[in-house]
């Protein structure tokens, strides 16, 4: 089944028939994490890097922020039997405006916080497709962990 991960949302599945998808990643980041032995995977769509901008919001919608959403996804994966040592992480999104005049750089900052957090958790990013000015759609196939990106009419494996 195709399961949609909305904006500021996260889904985990261990059903080999499931494909997780998140649409229209602009500056937001999508992170797919998969355990190839347990065949369990999660996909998250975060809008902003740090929850300190609105702590109340972070309580209601933890997946809005990388620093609250990503640890929660990892914890859920561990609780379901995923093993940190086996986890494969793939990252997409973090696009930037053609010229945002150095003001917001949300995409770049999202990417930096994802890298930091995964590094702290001893999880390597096996591949990523970030930056640029294109919006992306990201798919995670639970059966084999295959991660696909669709962007500007093209589709490719990450």
């Amino acid at each position: 089944m195709l399961l949609t991960v909305g904006i500021s949302d996260m889904k985990i599945s261990s059903n080999p028939e499931d494909v997780l998808v998140t649409y229209s990643l602009g500056s937001c980041v999508g992170i797919a994490i998969y355990d190839p032995l347990q065949k369990i995977g999660g996909l998250i769509h975060c809008m902003l890097p740090l929850s300190k901008v609105d702590l109340e919001k972070a309580k209601d919608v933890p997946y809005m922020f990388v620093d609250t959403g990503l640890p929660l996804m990892l914890q859920t994966l561990f609780n379901m039997g995923a093993d940190r040592k086996r986890l494969v992480a793939k990252v997409a999104g973090g696009a930037v405006l053609l010229d945002d005049n150095g003001m917001f750089r949300i995409g770049e900052r999202n990417h930096i916080v994802v890298r930091k957090l995964l590094w702290k958790n001893n999880i390597l990013i096996s591949s990523e497709d970030v930056g640029g000015t294109l919006a992306r759609t990201m798919y995670l196939h639970i059966i084999d962990g295959k991660t696909m990106i669709k962007s500007a009419g093209k589709e490719y494996e990450l």
């Binding site: 500021s8 649409y23 229209s24 500056s27 809005m64 696009a95 053609l98 003001m103 009419g153």
Partner: protein, 286 residues
Amino acid sequence: MNSREKIIEKIKEIPAFPTNSASILNKINNPESHILDIAKEIETDPTLTANVLKLANSAYFAGHQTISTIREAVILLGINRIQQLIIATAIFPTAVKPLQGYDLPAGELIKHLIGTAIASELLGKELKGDVPPHTFTVGLLHDIGKIVLGTFIEIDPEPIIKKAYDERLSFEKAEKEILGIDHSEVGALLMQAWNFPNVLIQPVLYHHEPDKAPREYQLVTDYVHIASNLCLECGIGSGIDGLNYSNNINSIERLNIDMRTVESVICKLIGEINTFMENLKTGDIT
């Protein structure tokens, strides 16, 4: 005829703005009109009445109250909100359709228009600034030119994209180079054909070049310029043009926006769009 002339010719063939809505909008903009007369006129059109009430009852406008008549809507929400609702209902049936030329699936453009309208108000609130009442309406209309280029003309986006990426041009500049006209100007021309007032036309025309907007329309133009880019960053209605637009440094300075403001707006944006859209499904507003 070159493609600019062909496109301008085509604008004339586009269906008129619903006559009844246009006449009501004119009355709203006429300071001599009485609001209860305007309410009465809306009530003579059952479809418009149903549509306006449906939107008026979204939590974004009504909060927890229930609004059951146009008269109540006019009194509780104010005449500016009624104008915004009439325009939203008028563009909804077209703006909800897929936009081939920009690779936008059904429902995405309308989400971008509503998102931009809401984000411009949120920005104003966050900055504790003065938000002119036309700001929301301009947000709803700013990309209306994309409907003309993306559906009525069905432009081939390939050469535009190629030009934009090869030369690192923002998308509207590439449009102008390839077609001789960009979606901002097409939108403004369409609104002119619909006899819309300048307070709405000028900010639409300059929403990618706010420095060029006449001074009296610059504040609205700045809000909508930044709000539209924010929505694209959040993936709200970004099609094949993606994030291939630029933030104007002078707009940022004029509004005095910093990163924190932007992030606070983004935090609230999706929730607010959902409160606006919750009553709306494709085909709901006819």
